[in-house]
């Protein structure tokens, strides 16, 4: 089952508290997840802590599932950071700002685990 969701990214206090500690496990925990509401998580058959694969036209990324019932149906949130940016829209539409909110995505359950920060960034060097 794949869930079509509108993906946004943004700041959280935990992400912000790790701004200068991005090589630490705490940063990974603060950023490598995707929030959906409980009903959407149920549709995918996953619980918090299971892995999700989030795919867009620009790439795909594996992150942990997290419930946030403040999200309306079909709205996915990944904290700003290298995991979110794997799948966000680089097009600036001629005004300088990439599409960091409002990217159509497809989300499904996966057995894969999220990559840690260094492994994720290593992929860029090897590309």
């Amino acid at each position: 089952m794949k869930l079509k969701a509108n993906l946004i990214s943004g700041r959280t206090a935990d992400q912000g508290a790790h701004l200068e500690a991005k090589t630490y496990r705490g940063y990974f925990d603060a950023c490598a997840y995707c929030e959906l509401n409980s009903a959407d998580l149920d549709k995918l058959g996953v619980s918090e802590g299971n892995s999700l694969k989030v795919a867009t036209d620009f790439g795909e990324v594996v992150v942990f599932a997290k419930a946030n019932d403040g999200n309306p149906d079909g709205l996915a949130f990944i904290p700003m950071g290298p995991w979110a940016n794997t799948v966000l829209d680089p097009d600036t539409h001629g005004c300088g700002m990439p599409g960091l909110k409002g990217v159509p995505s497809e989300i499904e359950a996966t057995e894969e685990k999220p990559l840690d920060m260094k492994s994720l960034m290593k992929q860029y060097r090897e590309d």
Binding site: G16, E20, T23, L75, G96, L100, G102, M121, Y124
Partner: protein, 434 residues
């Protein structure tokens, strides 16, 4: 043991200047008044992954080198590049930003700030329609209606509401929170929305529709408003318009929900127009919730040095500005930049994959106190002092008020300003040699 009062927190654009810091053996051991972000910055700096020494990437690995060698390698990259991108300069002092602009001019580089992925569209909006603002002090003293639109200060600016807005008590706002109406407009019920008197849930990407409907209502054209706009009923829109019109003093604080969503700078343009309309009835202002503590300062320094607030291209020998063309992400996504110097920012973490992929291909110089995702793709790494803790300097708060940051402890690390000066000297030497 020395206790330093009224220290300035150099993390977010709130630039809180009431922090009490206790220093023992040149270490900060206690901090009072700071939020979770500030606490992590001040106390965490002794636990975090400090870049201890200059490094150069050799055979795929970053290896320690003497400072002079790193400066020479960085200067060579700058001199040999035909299209250098200089990016960041927002978690540092205005003094360092001034030097960074000088370096960009002397190397014919393109220089951009983190506004590129933050409030860049707000700068464009201000150029289109103006930016009717006020100092946070005025808002604290006078505002009876406070709107947070597409921003979540509980997480991003945790002390904003208690120091300057919703919860603060001021000269004419002696009742604090009880005397202020707080409205939150967002796409999801955030922790800030949970504190609001009125939460308006908007369909993601339709901010401009709601702004336009509100303007119609404020200007007496409610007949043209459809029954539902942006997922919100006409009744709710009219009620919100009345709240704003009847306010004695209102402020719309807006964030990335407005600048990063569809319509981008047109949203900010719309907010400025709405503020202008509201001023026919009441007193209203708007302020962007700036992220990096001195991203506002970059805009100030760049404007007085070059005439433009960001995305400045010196390749023609004079400052040229066209953000959709000269923005940091645009030059990377077009694979145009052939080298980059990055300081006090982390595009490795905060740029989309296509831009990072190109950064990974070109020589990258990084100046930063801490290792981060950009370090993983950097070729020359130069450690810097933490401005606001180990170095003094000036920063501009989100309302463009300059605040002098104190030096709290001693350090061996050089400041961003000194490193940039050393780079300018070395670049001149290499150019003269050539």
């Amino acid at each position: 043991m020395p206790v330093i009062k009224d220290a300035v927190c150099s993390l977010c654009g709130s630039l809180c200047d009431d922090i009490t810091v206790t220093v023992e053996d040149n270490k900060i051991t206690k901090i009072e008044n700071a939020c979770i972000l500030g606490h992590s910055k001040f106390v965490g700096m002794f636990e975090h992954d400090r870049i201890e020494t200059p490094m150069i990437r050799k055979d795929g690995e970053l290896v320690p080198v003497p400072y002079e060698e790193a400066i020479e390698a960085a200067a060579k990259i700058l001199v040999n590049s035909r299209r250098t991108l200089s990016y960041g300069w927002c978690s540092t002092s205005c003094e360092a930003i001034g030097k960074a602009i000088q370096l960009a001019e002397e190397t014919g580089s393109l220089i951009d700030s983190t506004a590129n992925v933050c409030h860049g569209p707000s700068a464009l909006a201000a150029q289109e329609k103006g930016s009717p603002g006020a100092s946070l002090g005025v808002i604290k003293n006078r505002a009876d209606v406070i709107v947070f639109w597409g921003c979540n200060p509980v997480h991003a600016h945790p002390r904003h509401m208690s120091r300057y807005s919703s919860f603060s008590k001021g000269l004419f706002s002696t009742k604090g929170r009880k005397g202020r109406k707080m409205v939150v407009i967002d796409v999801r019920k955030t922790d800030t929305a949970k504190l609001a008197d009125k939460y308006v849930e908007i369909e993601q990407g339709s901010d401009l529709l709601l702004i336009t409907a509100l303007r119609s209502a404020v200007n007496g054209h409610e007949d043209v408003i459809p029954e539902t706009v942006a997922g919100i009923s006409k009744e709710e829109i009219l009620e919100l318009a009345e709240t704003l019109k009847n306010a004695q003093f209102s402020c719309i604080f807006f964030g990335m929900g407005v600048t990063q969503s569809r319509s981008k700078y047109k949203n900010g343009d719309g907010v400025s127009s709405l503020i202008s309309d509201l001023n026919q009835h009441s007193k209203a202002v708007t302020i962007g919730m700036r992220g990096h503590y001195n991203v506002t300062g970059f805009g100030q320094v760049a404007t007085w040095e070059t005439g433009f607030p960001m995305a400045i291209d010196f390749s023609r020998g004079f400052p040229y500005y066209n953000p959709g063309e000269t923005g940091a992400n645009d030059v990377l996504v077009r694979e145009e930049a052939d080298a980059a110097i990055i300081s006090a920012a982390d595009p490795g973490a905060h740029f989309p994959q296509k831009a990072v992929r190109h950064l990974a291909k070109i020589p990258v110089i990084q100046i930063d106190p801490y290792a981060n995702p950009t370090t993983e793709i950097a070729d020359v790494v130069i450690p810097a002092a933490v401005v606001g803790i180990e170095a003094e300097g000036t920063a501009y708060r989100m309302d463009a008020i300059p605040i002098r940051m104190k030096k709290l402890i001693d350090t061996e690390f050089k400041t961003d300003e000194q490193i940039t000066k050393d780079l300018i000297t070395k670049v001149r030497e290499l150019k003269e040699g050539a």
